[in-house]
């Protein structure tokens, strides 16, 4: 391979989905935390709630659009995140080699991974399941809290709360590793491409099995 060879990792529709997802989710997380801890005075709290609602609508539209326009990607993503092998357990045993690399500047042997490594798979599952729960519960809490039985409404409230905590915690890790792996970050936010060597190192199985050469 020549030095300049690249792989298109994130096609445009995936990137657009991700832009909107990132923008709306960050907004939702910040306003959500403000609302939960009641950090502001009355009119500002109301504004925070309104922003929360608008961002929630944007997130929902984004998810729906992606679901219908790119159902193949949804299926592919679901399959990849829910497919586990022994390698994933081994990956977790060394935590992908990241702590060693970041903290001790040591390189350890990491089992070969597909497009998503075991940690990303776990994150992917949380995003799929948690995100769906958050969207559904959010809509019920906004539009139907009077009509659903209040026991159910209170349970839906708890689901919304716990799912958001899990996702916010994962978001920190995701942000950190995303920036740490600058090539991936650029791929997602700029042009979708990552260098071939980089991918071959981090996702050897993907590079081996799932790619097609152009031309």
């Amino acid at each position: 391979m020549t030095e300049s060879s690249f792989i298109l990792k994130h096609p445009l529709r995936v990137r657009v989905f991700h832009y909107l997802l990132a923008a709306s989710f960050l907004t939702l997380a910040v306003t959500g935390i403000m609302l939960y801890f009641k950090l502001l005075a009355e009119p500002a709290m109301n504004t925070a709630m309104q922003v929360h609602v608008v961002a929630g609508v944007v997130l929902t539209m984004d998810a729906l659009a992606f679901f219908f326009l790119a159902f193949d990607r949804v299926v592919l993503f679901t399959k990849r995140t829910f497919t586990f092998s022994g390698n994933d357990i081994k990956w977790f045993a060394v935590l992908g080699g990241y702590p060693q690399k970041i903290l001790l500047h040591k390189k350890v042997d990491v089992p070969p991974m597909g497009k998503y490594n075991a940690g990303q798979k776990l994150f992917g599952i949380c995003v799929l399941v948690g995100g769906t729960l958050l969207i559904l519960s959010g809509w019920v809490l906004w539009a139907l809290p009077h009509a659903v039985p209040h026991g159910a409404a209170s349970m839906i409230g708890s689901i919304h709360l716990y799912a958001s905590w899990v996702l916010i915690l994962f978001l920190f890790v995701h942000l950190f590793l995303g920036i740490y792996m600058w090539d991936d970050f650029k791929a997602m936010f700029v042009d979708g491409r990552i260098p071939y060597e980089d991918a071959a190192e981090k996702a050897p199985l993907w590079v081996k099995n799932d790619l097609r050469r152009l031309g």
Partner: protein
């Protein structure tokens, strides 16, 4: 993507899934999404169950009562005979009737 596009030389195989796999996984996703919707729907349909059950309980109490007309209540009749006289009598007016107050003036 033109094949001469120099920006990248590899792309993902558009379908690394078989058709059958695609339908199976897609089906599971949609089924799982339908579950909460069905649950919420049934919760909404049954939301007044407790009201209906309590209503039924009282009508059942009525249906099985030996006496079902207020003016046949012997204790009430005894109260009128021994004490209050008859409905709207002076004693009734004093003890069983009341007056109301206009509270709106205070609001405006």
């Amino acid at each position: 993507m033109s094949k001469n596009d120099p920006s990248h030389e590899f792309i993902e195989n558009p379908f690394s899934l078989s058709r059958r796999e695609f339908i199976a996984i897609g089906g599971v996703i949609i089924a799982l999404l339908a579950l909460p919707a069905i649950w919420i729907r049934s919760a909404l349909i049954n939301r007044n169950h407790h009201i209906q059950a309590r209503t039924k309980g009282l009508y059942q109490d009525d249906a099985t009562a030996k006496i079902r007309l207020s003016h046949e209540n012997q204790a009430v009749m005894k109260l009128y005979k021994d004490f209050a006289g008859k409905p709207l009598s002076p004693v009734s007016e004093e003890l069983l009737h009341t007056k109301y107050v206009n509270r709106m003036k205070a609001l405006s």
